[in-house]
């Protein structure tokens, strides 16, 4: 048991460091960029993200595990992790705008698209010239993703799409999207679906950013009115859309499972507790505060070392299992509870936000974003189901809509 690199890993790390030294500056202070800034469309951030993505793509570091010629070097997952570790020490722009396209959409296109589509779309996405979004969720769907109503009807060689999608991350910056549609309402819900890719700039596509409870606008609602799509833009067979979507969702869990949380954790809470005075003295000396700090620390540390165990499995050539689902459950609830506790310590000043608030509103920001984190990419409830069913082998939920034609399923409306 040790944390050292294998000789091959050490050699790769050295190579990566040399490349980063030549292409980027070492991080000095802590740079907190932002998802929020990107969400709200800061153009400078977007341009910087695109430029850095292009630099990485040329060197084969944009998608390390992908084959050469597709933006990668045919590397291992471990090499990808090593690159990420080293990259985080440099002052470089966020790759967030490309996460959904490269993490989910392009792998789906690579699995189901024809050669022409791959030749046209993979490279521009890898080097950040084109941004993709994923159009699955609908207002009536929630966790029941397959309960979707956006229709695609075929006339000759062309499909016409009508309906709406929601919670689409980054749609306002996207050039293309993959969209799951209903092509046959007379069969059970999973069987009547078909996947396409579409041009987000096409006429009939109306993108409306949604203002979130946190104040940001990362998500959008999108309306489709007689949007025309060629049959060549279909991914997978007609009626096989759910199978295609599962490929995407599998990649989503790998991408989202790592767990964000804005880096807000025990060290920031300790910094606050060192500053504040409570009824019985310094907050950091208060027994209740210390118990809470310890509770969250063991969850953070447990998660960090669970990641080490996953990395070990990866370095031995094993695939990470659905165990990755635990990360988001732990991170999101911890973020919510820890932030709320910090605001409690701040007392009446806890109600402030932004620069006026203690620690520039760090905890208020965390508290405001936490509800979204507990929902996006699979709710806590769905993730618990995944652990129960796929890890522990417990029975799936009873589905009363199974084998019922989609247009006969009660909607409650």
């Amino acid at each position: 048991m040790d944390f050292e690199d294998s000789p091959e890993e050490a050699a790769f790390r050295k190579e990566v460091r040399a490349w980063l030294d030549a292409n980027a500056k070492k991080r000095t202070g802590k740079r907190e960029i932002g998802a929020d800034e990107l969400e709200n469309g800061a153009e400078g951030e977007m341009a910087a993200s695109k430029a850095w993505q292009k630099t990485k793509a040329k060197a084969g570091y944009a998608r390390i595990t992908w084959p050469k010629g597709m933006g990668g070097i045919g590397g291992t997952p471990m090499q990808s992790i090593i690159f990420g570790q080293e990259e985080s020490k440099y002052d470089v722009a966020s790759g967030a705008p490309f996460a959904i396209g490269l993490g989910m959409c392009i792998p789906t296109l690579m699995a189901y698209g024809d050669e022409a589509a791959k030749a046209r779309f993979v490279w521009p996405a890898v080097q950040g010239d084109e941004i993709w979004c994923q159009l699955f969720s609908e207002p009536a769907g929630g966790s029941d993703v397959a309960n979707l109503r956006t229709k695609a009807e075929k006339h000759g060689d062309t499909w016409t799409i009508n309906g709406s999608k929601i919670w689409t991350t980054g749609a306002q910056f996207s050039d293309y999207g993959i969209i799951l549609t209903r092509t046959d309402p007379n069969v059970p819900k999973h069987k009547g679906l078909t996947m396409f890719y579409i041009d987000m700039k096409d006429p009939g596509v109306d993108i409306r950013p949604i203002k979130q409870a946190s104040g940001g606008s990362g998500f959008n609602e999108i309306f489709f009115t007689d949007v025309k799509v060629k049959d060549s833009q279909r991914l997978g067979e007609v009626g096989q859309g759910w199978t295609v979507a599962l490929t995407t969702l599998m990649h989503e869990r790998l991408a989202v499972g790592g767990g964000a949380g804005g880096g807000l954790d025990v060290p920031q809470l300790m910094a606050l507790a060192r500053e504040l005075e409570l009824e019985d003295g310094p907050a950091i000396k208060n027994a209740a505060v210390r118990e809470k700090i310890a509770d969250w620390y063991v969850r953070s540390a447990g998660l960090r070392y669970t990641t080490f165990r996953t990395m070990t499995a990866l370095s031995q050539g094993k695939q990470p299992g659905p165990e990755a689902s635990i990360a988001k459950i732990v991170v999101a609830t911890k973020l919510q509870d820890l932030s709320a506790f910090a605001m409690e310590l701040e007392g009446e000043a806890g109600v402030l936000q932004g620069a006026e608030a203690p620690m520039h509103g760090l905890f208020q920001g965390g508290w405001l974003s936490a509800p979204g984190l507990r929902i996006a990419g699979g709710t806590d409830e769905i993730l618990r189901n995944i652990i129960a069913e796929r890890v522990l082998g417990l029975p799936g939920d009873i589905r009363v809509d199974k084998d019922v034609p989609f247009n006969k399923i009660p909607t409650g409306r």
Partner: protein
């Protein structure tokens, strides 16, 4: 990156599991619970014959000198089996105290007997309810004579030797503290067996009246020596707790899959599925924290005190949660004496208190964070 046990260590673990699944079933545990003995003497003898008691004791002191990672994998299996043997008291506490604070002569005299299973050792700290603090240590060692009282000493009824936290001089606080080594079979030692939660492990109150004892380690270092002993024991015991927590999850899962209500297995209800998923999450976090502790223990890393506190808190929380929710998943039958669920519930609490409560370890954890982040 290699954050896992080696193939040899995993093989040792498999062997331990196989051995214990034959020799230490819940019938074995039940017999100790329901009988007058405080441990299973036959099992203890076999455990020693396998060499487990000497796993991490260096060869020069009669042990196998394998190391702490090997001891960790054995600990996990003993925990899974709820083994009613004085392993934690003798191996994690007594032997570690000797290794940390003992002279060469003391080690040579006693460690071979630990390794061979000839003696049972223990460690005594608390003198009453509440926190164990330097100022509350009243037992004294003066002129080779030990006086005072220690309470709820684990495996006290069967122990041959104890390491005792005592006041070795009149200096106040930590400066007057010291560890003492005492032969419990000698005169001046009066033991009273306690009625405890977990009857598979005996505990006793021990009164010392001019009992012969010798210093173990230096005067003024008793508190820090005891802390170091507890840190190591916390990591090893965390593996026992993780083993126990895993069994609770497996028992709850098996029961939920086979118990039908409202026309379906109760394992198909989300209320049960989510409870079991939460057990799994807690257990995995605890396992990972224990692994980090194992790494710190085996390398003597600077992070050991922090790793120990995190492993202890995480494993205590996981075992507690898994044990109580295992009973809940079983429903009424789970609360009967006839089922095994209560053995885990009781062992979870016993292991969670024996090295000091979570509250104390959490406080220590934050103290470590404060100094490491300063």
């Amino acid at each position: 990156m290699n954050f896992d046990f080696s193939d040899d260590q995993k093989m040792l673990k498999d062997q331990a599991r196989k051995f214990l699944s034959e020799k230490c079933t819940t019938k074995t545990v039940r017999a100790v619970f329901e009988g007058d003995a405080h441990h299973d003497a036959a099992l203890w003898k076999q455990v020693a014959e396998m060499g487990w008691t000497g796993t991490a004791i260096p060869e020069e002191f009669g042990g196998l000198g394998l190391g702490y990672l090997e001891l960790c994998v054995i600990a996990e299996e003993l925990g899974r089996a709820l083994a009613p043997v004085p392993f934690s008291s003798t191996v994690y506490l007594f032997a570690e105290a000797l290794l940390i604070a003992g002279t060469d002569e003391q080690k040579k005299r006693l460690l071979p007997k630990v390794a061979s299973g000839e003696i049972v050792g223990t460690f005594a700290r608390a003198e009453g309810p509440g926190a164990v603090l330097p100022k509350n240590v009243r037992a004294t060692l003066k002129g080779g004579k030990l006086n005072g009282k220690k309470i709820a000493v684990i495996d006290g009824p069967i122990a041959d030797y104890a390491v005792v936290l005592v006041r070795g001089s009149d200096e106040p606080g930590e400066r007057g503290l010291q560890l003492a080594l005492v032969d419990l079979k000698g005169p001046g030692v009066k033991r009273t067996t306690c009625d405890t939660l977990d009857a598979s492990r005996g505990h006793s109150d021990i009164v010392f009246e001019n009992a012969s004892a010798e210093p173990l380690g230096k005067l003024g270092e008793g508190w820090s020596d005891a802390s170091r002993v507890l840190d190591r024991a916390a990591i090893l015991l965390a593996f026992e707790q993780v083993g126990g927590a895993d069994v609770c999850l497996a028992l709850a899962k098996d029961y939920a899959l086979n118990r039908y209500a409202f026309g379906r297995p109760i394992a198909s209800f989300q209320a049960i599925k989510h409870k079991l998923a939460d057990m799994y999450v807690n257990n995995e976090l605890a396992r990972s924290n224990a692994y980090y502790g194992a790494w710190a223990l085996s390398t003597g890393a600077r992070e050991l005190p922090l790793a120990a506190a995190a492993a202890r808190v995480s494993a205590t929380q996981a075992f507690d949660y898994a044990a109580k929710e295992n009973i809940q998943t079983h429903g009424g039958i789970g609360f009967t004496w006839a089922m095994d669920c209560h053995f885990y519930y009781k062992r979870a609490k016993e292991t969670g208190l024996v090295l000091g409560p979570q509250r104390a370890w959490k406080d220590k954890l934050v103290t470590e964070l404060e100094t490491s982040n300063a």
